[in-house]
């Protein structure tokens, strides 16, 4: 491993720790970091451990999931404009979630978790349908087929959401708020719910880091290098969809993270997926923690939807890096 990569990991780790520190400390009440282990001030201790910490961790996990899924999808589809939402999985999750609000569904026993669980089921169903359909069209699942299939399903599911929005009266604000994304007031159960998906999905993607590298040169060359292209594609699509579906189900559709973070990471540290995936994971977490912090503090006590902040921060940063890169 060379020096640059070590620096890359160290700086990303430091950025993440600093983000967590800022995320738990700053807010309507300033909480010193020492409260983490020091429970002498009980109210501060409670704020930190029951409100701030789960919120920061949830933001971090959602950001990490979207970023690593985006990096893997961009690599797999060989398209820098791909993001975790390209395959339509997020629209599936959204339909599940919006339907929950629209029909005021509440499944017994899981009550408050009806929305994220239906969201995940929506994501899962969409993934299965998209993959099956793409495979029906063309057995080798060319990249263009996948992208087009994703576009078709996204727009169809998008119309379903629009229809529900058009027909709704009272729940409009709730639906819009969910669609714009938020990690507030979720608490530990949501963190626990997303963790297994993040762990399994990320490990699955990371196992295919070398295959992603080989597939940069096209399916045929990858095959000749000994890559089981079909299996790798499935694994990466399933891993990425799992992460995306889980993230959308718990926090709504938060844009830009999955597109910008892998891009920035690649520009800074190179396109080698052996490192790109993990670095995107770390940087995605940091970015979303900071965005969430901004969203709840900038015009406090009003909270701006986090998706607005990611776009506000993401777009200019992205443009600047893009500009610098092209001018070289």
């Amino acid at each position: 491993m060379n020096k640059t990569i070590i620096i890359a990991y160290i700086s990303s780790m430091v950025a993440l720790l600093v983000s967590i520190w800022l995320g738990v400390s700053i807010g309507s009440v300033d909480v010193p970091f020492s409260t983490l282990w020091d429970d002498t001030n009980e109210s501060l201790y409670n704020i930190l451990w029951t409100i701030r910490m789960p919120r920061v961790l949830l933001a971090g996990l959602v950001g990490a999931s979207l970023a690593i899924a985006g990096a893997a999808f961009q690599g797999l589809l060989k398209n820098p404009l791909a993001d975790p939402y390209t395959l339509g999985v997020s629209s599936g999750a959204s339909v599940g979630a919006v339907a929950t609000i629209f029909f005021s569904i509440s499944i017994p026993f899981i009550s408050t978790f009806t929305l994220p669980i239906l969201g995940m089921i929506g994501a899962l169903l969409t993934m299965v349908i998209v993959l099956t359909f793409a495979r029906l069209i063309d057995r080798s699942m060319k990249m263009e087929t996948l992208i087009l299939t994703g576009v078709i399903f996204s727009s169809f599911l998008g119309s379903c959401i629009s229809l529900m929005i058009a027909l709704t009266g009272d729940q409009l604000r709730e639906i819009m708020g969910w669609l714009l994304g938020s990690v507030s007031m979720r608490g530990w159960p949501y963190v626990k719910m997303i963790v297994p998906f993040v762990v399994i999905g990320s490990i699955l993607l990371w196992l295919y880091r070398r295959e992603l590298n080989a597939m940069m040169y096209g399916d045929e060359r990858a095959m000749s290098l000994g890559v089981n292209v079909k299996r790798s594609k499935y694994a990466i699509l399933i891993g990425g969809s799992m992460l995306t579906g889980a993230a959308v189900a718990v926090s709504g559709t938060i844009g830009f993270v999955g597109l910008v973070v892998p891009h920035m990471t690649r520009m800074l540290w190179g396109a080698d997926h052996r490192h790109l995936l993990l670095l995107s994971f770390l940087n995605g977490a940091s970015l979303l923690i900071i965005c969430d912090l901004v969203s709840r503090t900038i015009i406090a006590p009003i909270e701006i939807p986090i998706g607005v902040i990611t776009a506000f921060i993401g777009a200019p940063v992205f443009s600047y890096i893009f500009y610098k890169q092209r001018r070289k």
Partner: protein, 486 residues
């Protein structure tokens, strides 16, 4: 190394390949040729395992293709399709390192010393080591292609399949890439199978060629066995002509354009031939096909101007090529379009004779200096230096001559010249025998290549008859002219 047995197959239900069989030995370079759409790429895809054949089998190292695992196959055979770049910017070293994929075991394996060595070796062999940290997108097409070949070499397999590795490259890069591949074949025993577009490059670099036509093997063998004029013309449906490579014993083809500058008005008359102060000239305004032993632009070629220049006896022969080129410039001739001879005889003593024949007019122009006349059968016993004197003969024909007619006309003309010397009793002053010529005689046969086609030029053919007579008569007169002046 590679055996292809009765392969049939293609995409979907329509078969593209029909019963293809051939084999490639270790350490050979096989080129696959054929017109667009003949199934070259399909064949490559079937050999590489991307497509399954509907019938037949492929053996690599005597083991059936289907029985190899992905990685095992990747260690035995490398396939390099036409690549243009990676989806995301990578450095040269990163790109080459991808070639080690099949050698990395398990999900957690680390980069080994062997991997490092193979990558460095591949970069050195292909000459990309010096820009190993450059980004692929900043390289030229040729440099990028080298990087991809380095990636293929880093895979360390014994068999490499290439798909048009020189596509879209300029000739310098084509040469470098193919030299590089050839070197791996010759020095390291690599086996290469490559689809090639350029027949001439294939003939130059490949040990064996496979010529495909409509999904079948039309010919398989050494370049000279496969590249037959009629066969290539037939398979490609193009007008071509076959020639030898100037330096290598390999056949090369040339396209014969169907639309070309009309040669119709190409008719030589007496007006084209002029005697000037310092030289005899022929300016034709259109190119003639010429075979000559002249001083300037000897050999076979196409030229518009011929000159036979008078020089002083003390002319310094040392840098004759340069001096002659300068002279042609000054005299208003294009040096690349002019055949030049030299003589010590004054231009005004040249003999120009015109003959009417059934196939067209023939002109014979001769200057004869016989001061240095010798008997060719006795030259082995004589010493140099010898006296000055040269017989320069031009035969210009309004006809279309085959290559053998040109050579036969040269023989016939030489015989006629010798006969003229004998007739005039020109003696070798040292041996006191009848001379056969001078040590510096030059001969030029030129034809307009329009009109009647003359396949032969031997003594009893129409061409030979007139060459024999004309050269004899003109040379005899020229000798008399020369003797008169002495």
């Amino acid at each position: 190394m590679l055996q292809v047995k009765n392969i049939c197959g293609g995409y979907g239900t329509t078969p593209i390949l029909k019963d293809i069989s051939f084999q490639v030995e270790k350490g050979t370079f096989l080129g696959i040729l054929g017109p667009n759409g003949c199934g070259k790429s399909t064949l490559l895809k079937i050999i590489s395992g991307v497509l399954k054949p509907s019938l037949g089998k492929i053996l690599i190292d005597d083991k059936e293709l289907a029985t190899y695992s992905n990685r095992e196959l990747a260690k035995t055979m490398t396939v390099l399709p036409q690549l243009h770049g990676a989806a995301f910017s990578s450095t040269v070293r990163e790109t080459v390192s991808i070639g080690r994929y099949p050698h990395q075991k398990g999900f957690f394996s680390q980069w080994s010393e062997e991997d490092e060595y193979a990558v460095n070796q591949a970069m050195v062999q292909t000459g990309v080591k010096r820009y190993e940290n450059a980004y692929l997108e900043n390289l030229s097409g040729g440099e990028r292609q080298r990087v991809f070949i380095a990636q293929a070499l880093a895979q360390s397999s014994q068999l490499i399949l290439l798909d048009e590795p020189t596509n879209h490259l300029d000739i310098a890069h084509q040469q470098q890439i193919l030299d590089m591949i050839r070197k791996e074949v010759t020095d390291n025993g690599l086996t290469v199978v490559s689809v090639l577009h350029d027949i001439n490059l294939a003939a130059l670099y490949c040990d064996e060629l496979l010529l495909m036509e409509k999904g079948q093997v039309r010919a398989f063998g050494k370049p000279h066995e496969v590249l037959l004029e009629n066969q290539i013309a037939d398979v490609y449906g193009a007008q071509i002509s076959l020639q030898a490579h100037p330096e290598q014993p390999k056949p090369q083809i040339t396209i014969l354009p169907e639309i070309h500058e009309p040669l119709k008005d190409g008719k030589i008359t007496l007006n084209h031939i002029q005697i000037q102060e310092e030289y005899v000239e022929l300016r034709s305004q259109f190119p003639l096909r010429v075979l000559s032993s002249a001083v300037h632009n000897a050999g076979l070629g196409w030229y518009e101007n011929f000159i036979n220049r008078t020089v002083k006896p003390e002319y310094n022969i040392e840098n004759v090529q340069e001096e002659y080129t300068q002279y042609l410039y000054k005299a208003g001739f294009s040096p690349t379009n002019t055949v030049g001879m030299m003589t010590a005889v004054e231009a005004r003593k040249a003999i120009i004779k015109q003959y009417e024949t059934p196939f067209g007019e023939v002109y014979v122009i001769v200057t004869a200096g016989i001061g240095g006349a010798i008997d060719v059968s006795k030259t082995y016993e004589r010493e140099f230096p010898i006296r000055i004197g040269t017989i320069n003969i031009w035969v210009i024909m309004n006809a279309k001559l085959s290559d053998e007619a040109f050579v036969q006309a040269m023989i016939t003309a030489t015989e006629a010249k010798t006969k003229a010397l004998q007739h005039e009793r020109v003696m070798d002053y040292q041996t006191n025998t009848i001379a056969t010529g001078t040590p510096t005689d030059s001969l030029l046969i030129a034809a307009t290549q329009t009109g009647d086609y003359m396949q032969y030029g031997g003594p009893i053919t129409p061409v030979g008859k007139i060459v024999g007579r004309g050269v004899f008569e003109a040379t005899t007169e020229a000798i008399r002219n020369y003797q008169k002046g002495e």
